[in-house]
């Protein structure tokens, strides 16, 4: 099962589910990471964490462990 944390720079993928194990999963959904949305890894910080994704026409920075609960199809 591939997650958003495994995306390469510029790689696009579609979200299939959000893993509710992470305490911030609700916030991830509310900010726009929902099944069916296409996301792209646009940038990563100097330390490879956090990662910046393009979702719904905007850029959102999230930590690697948070990206790990975004499950891709």
């Amino acid at each position: 099962m591939k997650t958003a944390a495994e995306l390469k720079h510029g790689e696009r993928a579609r979200i299939s589910d959000i893993n509710s194990d992470n305490p911030s999963y609700k916030r991830l959904i509310e900010i726009g990471f929902t099944p069916g949305q296409e996301i792209e890894l646009v940038n990563s910080s100097v330390f490879n964490d956090p990662l910046a994704f393009s979702v719904r026409g905007t850029l959102i920075a999230i930590r690697r462990n948070e990206a790990d609960c975004i499950i891709l199809s």
């Binding site: 911030s24 646009v42 910080s45 026409g57 959102i60």
Partner: protein, 674 residues
């Protein structure tokens, strides 16, 4: 008999996701000028005011921190949600105006839907129409209004487009307020689960697909081209972020050079404060010296002449000299906030900060700590994890706030040889670097113990929207810097004045006209002797006897001690207090005459020079650490919800300050630097 019916003024609450133009709209409706910044969390407290008279609607407006959903994630979001459902003062809003970025419809409608579901009277304001138009789209507001069953208006808060229609709709909504029998809104988001959120989003996606339409262009050729571009967009509601932003981010967030740019931007920012302010400082300085000289010439050698020229004018002037630097600091911070870079800064240092128990979101509060600790502690509300938020608040007093600038500039001027003025800038920059390094050290030490000191659960998180870059609006930034500087004067001014008077009284009384042997002395010498005799027999000297034992180990005497104590009211008072105690009334300008007085001063208990390289460096170290600000302690208590943290801060920082000053001064003495 007539019964006075107290007419309740209707309440309109503004809510909206961060960066949806909420504060801009609030400013437009209220005629006020609160700052809007390109970083989520610029509003952390709610503001209320009346609608502007010209709109002819009597209503209270409430602006609250941005929220993306009614399920709060951090203390600033809680402020908003609480104010909606249960405002202690105003009750439930009669009308909720919710802003949404038209180009972000599928994300921003979440809040609108939740508000409507709760049963609020909602008016939806769509902003950023221009961004959507760039993508060749427009919103069919009639359709959206019907689908949502609430009024929808497109507004541009900057140009005022659509405001007339908005005012009409507000008026209509307030007049049609449903009778009291209406149920009050209910909060039902405690146990929203994943699936219900997904369903809500699917609903919203269908909604936004239904209301987004391509812009019709009369020119057929053009239209054909547009359609070619537009068709894929319409089939696929996923839109692309701003291209310029993505390109600029490739440079500014570069994996190797990103941090380099970050440090470059920060260094430029802090060093420019000093060289930009220099000419303005000279101007303020000359003005106050002129004022002091004139009043002393006019009033002659009397006690009230001394009170006015020494006490009031020199005291106030010695602090106001630093106003240009403070103004420029606010200006540069404001410009930086407005560009959208701060969110990138927060992202880049999230990882290193999380190693010492902080969060990337601590970056903006810490940076504002360089202006003033009070707004900085409020800004920490955007941090959702309680432990990280408290630790951020804990170390904020270590950021070199603008009140310390006057002190540093004076002490650095003392250390800088007149033939090497550039050394001053470097010294000041190193004070900033040193204070940053020490705050990192303190944070990591506290973090080690913080599991005992600060109890909270572990749910650290960093989710931050990176707003599109934009050119800062210079006019707004200048206006805000001006307002901030004015606040600074209003806050610090009275304190400085009152303390100047107290210190003047303590150092001038009771022996105001001392008996001295004047034989063989010229007028200048008589004046000098009178001064030192007066001070040596003053109330301050009496008090000083108690302070002396504490100051001796530092190589300082009670006169500095009195100034340090006065500085607990506000740090900048240290300078005016020194100016008073060392009696500055030369015709030269204030700063240089205070410097001369400092160079000539001798330690009253040892007879050696009082201000030496060692003691001045010691004083700088003291000011880096000591928590000398009553307002900071008060805000820290309020924000942390108890006395525990402010008292710990006061004890730890002030004792560290004393200890390190002691070590600095004595080590410098040992290695031969007097």
């Amino acid at each position: 008999m007539t019964v006075d019916v107290v007419k309740r003024i209707p309440l309109i609450t503004l809510v909206g996701p961060p960066n949806s133009g909420k504060t801009t709209l609030f400013n437009y409706l209220s005629g006020k000028n609160f700052k809007t910044v390109n970083y989520p969390g610029s509003t952390v407290e709610y503001y209320t005011c009346k609608m502007q008279d010209k709109f002819n609607i009597e209503a209270n407006l409430l602006d609250s921190p941005g929220i993306i959903s009614l399920n709060p994630n951090s203390p600033d979001e809680e402020v908003t949600v609480n104010s909606l459902y249960n405002h202690p003062e105003f009750g439930i809003p009669d009308l909720v105006i919710v802003t949404a970025d038209a180009s972000q419809l599928s994300r921003h409608l979440l809040l609108t839907k939740q508000l409507l579901d709760s049963g609020f009277n909602v008016l939806l304001v769509l902003t950023m129409k221009d961004l959507l138009e760039k993508k060749g789209l427009k919103v069919n507001t009639d359709k959206l209004s019907k689908l949502l069953r609430c009024d929808v208006v497109i507004v541009n808060g900057r140009t005022g487009f659509g405001i007339d229609e908005l005012v009409k709709k507000i008026d209509k909504n307030l007049k049609n307020l449903k009778p009291v029998s209406k149920q009050s809104p209910t909060y039902k988001f405690n146990d929203t689960d994943k699936q219900s959120l997904f369903t809500l989003f699917t609903e919203i996606e269908n909604l936004s697909k239904a209301v987004l339409e391509p812009i019709e262009i009369p020119d057929l050729d053009k239209a054909n081209k547009e359609i070619k571009i537009l068709n894929p967009v319409l089939e696929e509601p996923t839109m692309q972020p701003d291209l310029f932003t993505i390109k600029l981010d490739r440079i500014l967030l570069h994996r190797r050079y990103g941090l380099l740019f970050f440090f470059l931007i920060m260094t430029t920012m802090f060093t420019s404060i000093f060289w930009l302010a220099d000419p303005f400082m000279t101007m303020v300085d000359d003005f106050f010296s002129y004022l002091a000289q004139t009043s002393s010439d006019l009033l002659g050698n009397t006690w009230y002449s001394h009170l006015i020229s020494d006490g009031l004018i020199s005291g106030t002037g010695s602090v106001l000299v630093f106003l240009p630097q403070i103004l420029i600091l606010f200006l540069i911070l404001g410009l930086l906030e407005d560009t959208g870079y701060l969110a990138r800064g927060a992202m880049m240092i999230d990882k290193p900060l999380s190693k010492i128990g902080l969060n990337g979101k601590s970056f903006v509060p810490m940076l504002s700590g360089f202006a003033c600790a009070i707004p900085a502690m409020l800004a920490a509300r955007t941090i959702s994890n309680r432990r990280e938020r408290l630790l951020t608040i804990f170390i904020i007093p270590l950021m070199s706030c603008s009140a310390r600038l006057p002190v540093y500039v004076l002490l650095v001027a003392f250390l800088t040889p007149s033939d090497k003025p550039w050394l001053g800038g470097i010294l000041l920059a190193s004070i900033y670097v040193f204070s940053i390094i020490s705050s990192i050290l303190v944070a990591s030490i506290i973090n080690k113990f913080s599991r005992k000191l600060i109890k909270a659960d572990d749910n650290s998180s960093f989710i931050l929207e990176l707003p599109a870059y934009r050119i800062p609006k210079l006019k707004v930034v200048i206006k805000n810097s001006y307002i901030n500087a004015l606040h600074y004067i209003k806050r610090a001014g009275p304190v400085i004045l009152v303390l100047s008077l107290i210190i003047w009284f303590l150092t001038y009384m009771p022996n105001h006209s001392p008996q001295i042997d004047t034989t063989g002395l010229n007028e200048e010498q008589i004046l000098q002797l009178e001064k030192s005799e007066r001070l040596a027999t003053s109330y301050a000297a009496e008090l000083g006897k108690f302070i002396q034992p504490v100051m001796s180990p530092l190589g300082m005497d009670w006169r500095i001690g009195v100034s340090l104590i006065a500085a607990f009211a506000a740090r900048e008072v240290f300078v005016s207090s020194l100016a008073l105690i060392f009696r500055v009334t030369d015709d030269e300008n204030i700063q240089s005459s205070l410097l001369n007085a400092m160079k000539n001063a001798t330690n009253q208990s040892t007879g050696e020079p009082l201000f030496t390289t060692a003691t001045v460096i010691g004083l700088i170290v003291f000011f880096i650490f000591a928590l000398q600000c009553i307002s900071t302690i008060a805000v820290s208590r309020k924000e942390t919800g108890g006395w525990r943290i402010p008292i710990l801060q006061l004890l730890i920082f002030t004792s560290t300050a004393y200890l390190l000053t002691f070590i600095t001064v004595n080590v410098l003495h040992l290695i031969g630097i007097s």
